[in-house]
């Protein structure tokens, strides 16, 4: 259960990391190579988040209905379907697989 002190500590730690990331780097002193590496980090982390939110639950690898939904999302995305169709399609397919 979340309490006020827990919320305050979580807020402090989470914002602290975000602010540290934003403020630590001095853009004027960055080389082009460093910029190109930083530019690819969101892609790399986004893929990691997607993989873990599809194939894991609370730190354990799990294969369940989500994989069908996300598989459909990947297919729809590859076919350049609108983002809304991708998201709703994935939720619908996951729900349908669970209902089977």
């Amino acid at each position: 259960m979340l309490t006020w002190s827990v919320v305050a500590l979580l807020a402090f730690g989470v914002y602290g990391q975000r602010a540290l990331g934003m403020a630590l780097i001095d853009p004027k002193r960055m080389s082009g190579q460093a910029r190109s590496v930083l530019a690819m980090i969101p892609l790399s982390i986004l893929c990691a988040v997607t993989a873990l939110q599809t194939l894991s639950t609370e730190g354990e690898l799990v294969v369940d209905a989500r994989i069908g939904g996300i598989g459909l999302a990947a297919l729809l995305s590859w076919k350049r379907a609108p983002m809304f169709v991708v998201v709703i399609g994935a939720a619908g397919a996951t729900a349908a697989l669970r209902a089977l």
Binding site: L2, L10, L24, P42, L43, S44, V49
Partner: protein, 225 residues
């Protein structure tokens, strides 16, 4: 007021979809906290102040499994490490002034950073980051507040496939970025490393290691086709 910044790659459809997804997922997150016994006002405060579902959910999971409050908080912090790395990644493209970037850090999420980073010009990256921060944070707060009050009516969010919405949204954000051989390799390695480490390392540590493939951006661009 313009819904999305003019002359950028951001579309209204993307903005509305992200807002809808965050709104819906926020209701689910509130429901999880509500069933764990957290008072409504604390749920709303957590949403406004922590601004991270993964951090509060990690805390809830650890303490529900018998872990201490300290372990739960540490887990929440660890889970949020990716926001620090993502913030650092976008930082050079935002404002030169540290104080401005420190304020912007409050709303550093995955989609607004990814969409801002997609813009070729730094000025557009800033405009998209600001716009998408509002498109994300306001539905997020609204959904969480609504969920704290009406969450009881959604008995089982998983039955509605709501847990697939975030990864599906991320897939839609990733796909347009897979334009070069390098980006595809980085994507596969990022996902692979996270999956390989999820059962070994705690909280957000797999995300830190998953950032390492970005170093492949240093490869000779001639070989990047």
């Amino acid at each position: 007021m313009r819904q999305v910044p003019k002359d950028t790659l951001l579309t209204k459809g993307e903005a509305w979809t992200i807002a809808f997804t965050y709104f819906t997922v926020a209701i689910t997150v509130s429901l999880v906290h509500s069933t764990a016994g957290t008072p409504r006002v604390t749920i709303i405060a957590a949403t406004l102040m922590v601004n991270s579902a993964t951090a509060t959910l990690a805390y809830a999971a650890v303490t529900a499994a018998g872990g201490s409050v300290a372990a739960g908080i540490a887990s929440g912090w660890l889970t949020a490490t990716r926001f620090g790395v993502l913030s650092a990644a976008l930082s050079p493209r935002l404002w030169p002034e540290r104080w401005k970037r420190s304020i912007a850090a409050f709303s550093a999420f995955d989609p607004n950073i990814a969409l801002a980073n997609r813009e070729p010009a730094d000025t557009d990256a800033r405009r998209v980051y600001i716009a998408m921060s509002f498109w994300l944070v306001l539905p997020w707060w609204l959904g969480a507040s609504l969920g704290a009050f009406v969450g009881d009516f959604i008995s089982n969010p998983k039955a509605l496939g709501m847990d697939a919405m975030f990864p599906a949204l991320f897939i839609a954000l990733i796909r347009p970025q897979l334009t070069t051989k390098n980006s595809k390799v980085i994507a596969v390695l990022g996902a692979g490393i996270a999956l390989a480490l999820v059962e070994i390392l705690q909280g957000g540590l797999p995300f830190l290691f998953a950032a390492l493939p970005a170093l492949l951006a240093l490869r000779n661009k001639a070989g990047d086709s």
